[in-house]
């Protein structure tokens, strides 16, 4: 007889679901199938058994031979999902978590966009209610006027709560299974701060600057936004690598840490991640790099430049559109508000255009020569 169990949001709480499946097996219910769309898990009554479950998500989702030889077997395969189990008493090898975290992180980013829109809507609603109640002194006359705002509040708070839930789950999984945190440095000497606003735009120039600082005895301790904290001490040879990466996988950090690199900085949130790595080396030794392929490094820095300049181009497009709308309105009405808006948009447009030119000039004239 098939027993159905409904488990909403199971894919966002992977290890809890695996634990739940193991408890079901202990109670004599073995998983036989899942209904992806209805979030229903199907079980058959069997003899109680100690079972370890693991859930995988991947395009190919295949079980490595070594894992098969270590007792892992497929129970369910549903599109990119694969649920595997192991009935041995001690399990020492496990399927990878990369696919699941990558997928959940992507979902988190998409939901973050909805949560951002939701927050904006709530703020607008709040401002509207304040205006109508206290400033304008108006009162709603329709009996169910609160229904609309209530639906908006409930809907948006649900979206925001789900996003926060996903964020916490992804962070928890990453901390549990991957070493993605910034390496802490013990500070004994005097520290000082330096401000470098454009460091993410010019990775190679930043690397050179950090290496020169290390040669002068200033060791990088931590980075917060545009502020770099250094510690005064003995001169040292250290290689620094700055990267801007698109949808970085947790195993990226593990791989470099294993190879002896120290993670100095990692920006949080967003599809793009700014990263700074450091590694000391001895005199006469080749300067260590993450990649010795200059072409690949150059390609990567160009991608970073493209990403950074696109932000400015989009802002300029937005400003131009608003400017055009205000000019058209000013030609018709000739109001003072339009006049001020035109001035504000023109000035901000000029500032962004200047920044775009400056970034492009520095990138092509100074940064690219360093590769």
């Amino acid at each position: 007889m098939t027993i159905n169990k409904w488990r909403p949001l199971w894919s966002y709480r992977i290890d809890e679901t695996e634990q739940w499946l193991a408890e079901m097996a202990q109670g004599g219910l073995q998983l036989t199938n899942i209904q992806r769309f209805s979030r229903v898990f199907q079980f058959e009554k069997e003899l109680p058994a100690e079972t370890t479950y693991q859930i995988q998500y991947d395009k190919s989702a295949q079980l490595p031979k070594t894992l098969q030889n270590n007792g892992w077997q497929e129970v369910v395969k549903a599109k990119r999902w694969q649920i595997v189990k192991n009935e041995q008493s001690s399990v020492s090898l496990f399927p990878s978590r990369d696919g699941v975290i990558k997928r959940n992180r992507f979902h988190m980013y998409i939901w973050s966009i909805f949560a951002f829109i939701g927050t904006w809507q709530l703020l607008m609603l709040f401002a509207l209610l304040i205006t109508s109640f206290f400033i304008a002194g108006e009162r709603q006359t329709t009996p169910f006027w609160w229904m609309g705002p209530l639906v908006i509040v409930l809907f948006n708070t649900s979206v925001i709560s789900l996003t926060i839930f996903q964020y916490r789950q992804v962070k928890r999984l990453e901390n549990k299974y991957f070493k993605t945190s910034v390496d802490q440095v013990k500070v004994v000497g005097r520290t000082f701060k330096k401000w470098k606003r454009t460091w993410t735009y010019f990775p190679k120039m930043t690397e050179q600057w950090l290496m020169n600082m290390a040669e002068q005895g200033n060791r990088l301790v931590k980075v917060k936004g545009f502020f770099f904290t250094f510690e005064e001490g003995p001169k040292e040879r250290a290689s620094y690598v700055c990267e801007l990466r698109w949808r970085v996988a947790p195993s990226y950090f593990e791989m470099h840490k294993e190879a002896g690199w120290q993670l100095k900085f990692k920006s949080s949130g967003g599809f793009w991640t700014c990263i700074i790595w450091a590694r000391s080396y001895e005199e006469g030794e080749k300067v260590p790099r993450l990649s010795y392929d200059a072409v690949e490094e150059k390609r990567q820095s160009f991608r970073a430049y493209l990403m950074n300049s696109t932000v400015f181009i989009l802002l300029l497009a937005l400003i131009s559109m608003n400017l055009w709308l205000n000019i058209t309105k000013y030609e018709i009405d000739g109001g003072a508000v339009q006049k001020t808006m035109i001035l504000i948009f023109t000035l901000s447009g000029l500032v962004f255009a200047w920044l775009l030119i400056k970034i492009t000039y520095t990138y092509f004239i100074k940064e690219r020569k360093l590769y």
Partner: protein, 109 residues
């Protein structure tokens, strides 16, 4: 990715890709691959962890290798059946290359 497409995309292989796959005669950690490549090439080929990461990620996506984790959650890479076929195909190509090197090397002296 099907086998035909894999061979078309990967062969002829880059030296980095070849040595990474050659290291996977047994499952290894990422750093284990770096060390093994240094060993078999007599320290001639030093692979950066960034190079290894990029190549392994691409190979994993294309189904040439697969990965799992040990008790300490450290990643271990293993070659798949498709990966083995690809390596045999590449080795045949290199054998032909080697035969021709032996046959004609004197003519270049």
């Amino acid at each position: 990715m099907n086998l035909e497409k894999i061979i078309k995309n990967y062969s002829p292989m880059t030296e980095t890709a070849f040595y990474i796959l050659l290291s996977l005669t047994e499952p290894r950690h990422g750093y284990g691959i770096i060390k093994h490549v240094e060993e078999v090439t007599g320290n001639r080929l030093k692979l950066g962890s960034g190079t290894i990461y990029g190549t392994l990620t691409k190979m994993e996506r294309d189904g040439i290798i697969t990965m799992y984790a040990d008790e300490k959650r450290k990643k271990i890479y293993e070659i798949t059946e498709d990966g083995k076929v690809l390596m045999r195909h590449e080795m045949e190509r290199l054998k032909e290359l080697h035969v021709n090197v032996i046959k004609y090397e004197e003519d270049f002296e």
